[in-house]
Symmetry: C2
Subunit: 406 residues, 2 copies
């Protein structure tokens, strides 16, 4: 007998049929004699619907009331999921986040979990009842209802897995695991059977949208291994867990492509002390998150600065930079949208040298011109022309031996 | 300064515009320096939508899960109402039934309120915050979420008015008070400025659908006077309160017409002891509520029995009666749908005689033939032909001096 946490996202419980499908997945686990604790999100679309109703009434709704509003979404799903289980003969009971003992700090819309009181849940599990908990929500010590922010249901699942000392935490989603690359771009991409928290974090932050980076950080911090798998088939997924030494045998775990970036070039900035700092301060004030940065001192006492920003923020970035440049008294901005960021990720890089050289050789073979480079301990990223990006990804994938075996 | 409870039903908060209208009504009260406690229902339609989703998943949903599901409806409204108040500069805070301290017994979908702990609400009110409470819901001592059944939001409002010792409890609805008769039938009907609990109860149970009889009983039991008024205009409504002696000066407070009844005639029942009892037992087993009953012993040792049932239950009543008659060995059933029940109601009947005579005279004048009669301390009801009912109601209304003065 094992104690298993299963989390189903909004797409997995999107309508009556899908909720019934989820109930069958739960039943098949339960029928094997396991204890099953389920976390569900609101039906996909419901949260956005509630938000738009709120904005129509108050463009600036109070965080506390936003939380009161949004938790209604999951409350519907937990009840319907329990009913679906009853309909196929499985004893089940639903609980809101507050009832489930998820205690948070009082910061509405972005609360952090501070403690878990899982006695009631464990009581139900021991009576062979499936427990359905509303994800994304909790309550502070004063009993005020809070929500955990983006990716909150994954957080709930991981915290509950820790709280009930689960043997396994399964995150069901619409993909069936983590791949060495996006299979839509690289047909020879392989599903990974396991991956370390850190590698998953890098991939999550690189636009491989399986999970929010925040949830991966949380599971890393509390060391709660979890499996990412599909709610639409029964294939084994990918286990995300603490790094073990054998993981280092693989130099590159995966290749990620992020096409949601734009490049900002600033030329001829007056090369005074603090010029670059003023530019980045201005961007920060405009709420633009800057990613890769390269600065080089040009001739004649002027400097050039290049960096990338999320493509949606290009306009805001340009406005902010132009304002700073007029304060600094010089410099021109150029925006380049048609770029992509290609990254190779792997904990093996810590102990293997020559990865950069191998990557650059592969990019050369793909005839992709490198515009920017940045590196971290377990990742190398390059900015290349968007038109070359998909081909380059496939060539790099092959070069690092990641292609599925025929 | 007064402490005022205002309850708005599902129609009054049916969409964004109407919620904003409700917010303006609240603000105008608040701006006069009063403390305002608000109870709201789910948006009209939402509860039925949730129920139909539940039934699609499980035709027989568990009561506990039904409660978990349905409370989501009011939770949306309380948050949106608070946001609408914020948008017009009124400090406000929303609370679920559980947070508001409405403690019930553990009988899901039809819980009864057992106690009120209004400390938190009073704390907010004293800080000049409008408090918005979700109607229809509460929690039992174990923290399980419960609902109060049909008309539950009115119950919540009346219980909260008692709990916070309110000076006034206002039930906002889509009619602007209680009338001497349905104004659609009797154009000369007058709005009553006050009415006793008992008179209101008789009118409620007679199909004047301003409020559920249950809520009126509750306010009678705890002596919480309330006002029924419109959320769409600012006219004073009708105060429903304990009977005072001056109320007896009016013999008839109102005339009600119930067209939702059908007459069942059973002829030639073998006149054995217990025959009639078996008929009514059988109807009760079939969940048919019987209203007016007349029995007369016919010739030849057979009896005739006449009674009324809700028109929707006619088929079920007939099936049940036929089964009993075949057991009893005789008797025929006839159904008459085109009847109506006309009633005059007034606490003054206790001290005035001759009301029945006056009523029968008026019906004679209206050429309406009386088919059945039943009386109680403060009510006389007659069954007449449906085609004569509206005209008769107008004549009776005039005869008892209820017409609005020109």
């Amino acid at each position: 007998m094992a104690r298993i946490v299963k989390k189903f996202g909004g797409t997995s419980v999107g309508d009556v049929d899908r909720i019934q499908n989820v109930a069958r997945v739960i039943k098949s686990e339960y029928d094997q004699g396991n204890e099953v604790l389920v976390v569900v999100s609101a039906r996909s679309g419901v949260t956005n619907e509630l938000i738009s109703r709120a904005k129509a009434i108050n463009p600036n709704p109070a965080d506390r009331e936003m939380d009161m509003l949004l938790v209604a979404g999951e409350q519907e799903t937990i009840a319907l999921t329990a009913m679906a289980l009853h309909a196929i003969g499985v004893d089940a009971v639903s609980m809101t986040g507050a009832m489930a003992g998820i205690r948070t700090d009082p910061f509405h819309t972005r609360a952090r979990i501070v403690s878990m009181d899982c006695k009631k849940i464990i009581g139900h599990l021991e009576k062979k009842r499936v427990v359905i908990v509303a994800g994304f929500q909790g309550a502070d010590t004063d009993g005020q209802i809070t929500t955990l922010g983006r990716g909150g249901s994954d957080l709930s699942a991981i915290a509950l897995a820790k709280g009930v000392d689960a043997d396994l935490c399964q995150i069901y989603t619409d993909v069936d695991g983590v791949y060495t690359a996006d299979p839509r771009i690289v047909p020879k991409a392989r599903k990974l059977s396991e991956i370390s928290y850190e590698e998953m974090l890098e991939l999550a932050s690189l636009g491989t949208k399986v999970m929010q980076a925040r949830s991966v950080e949380f599971s890393n911090k509390y060391n709660v291994p979890f499996e990412v798998r599909s709610s639409f088939n029964n294939n084994p997924g990918t286990i995300v867990k603490e790094e073990v030494s054998s993981m280092e045998d693989v130099v590159v775990r995966g290749v990620a492509l992020d096409r949601n970036q734009a490049k900002v070039l600033i030329t001829n900035i007056p090369d005074k002390p603090g010029s670059a700092a003023r530019v980045f301060e201005g961007l920060s004030e405009a709420n633009v998150v800057v990613d890769m940065i390269v600065q080089n001192i040009g001739r004649n006492g002027v400097a050039n600065l290049t960096f990338t920003v999320p493509r949606d923020d290009t306009q805001r970035a340009e406005t902010a930079v132009n304002q700073i440049l007029s304060e600094l008294g010089g410099g021109e901005v150029t925006l380049v949208n048609d770029i992509a960021k290609l990254s190779v990720v792997g904990v093996g890089m810590r102990s293997h040298s020559g990865v950069a050289g191998q990557l650059f050789a592969a990019l050369g073979e793909a005839k992709a011109n490198i515009q920017l480079i940045s590196t971290s301990e377990i990742k190398i990223s390059v900015v290349i022309d968007e038109s070359e990006a998909e081909h380059a990804t496939r060539v790099v994938h092959t070069a690092f031996g990641l292609d599925v075996e025929e």
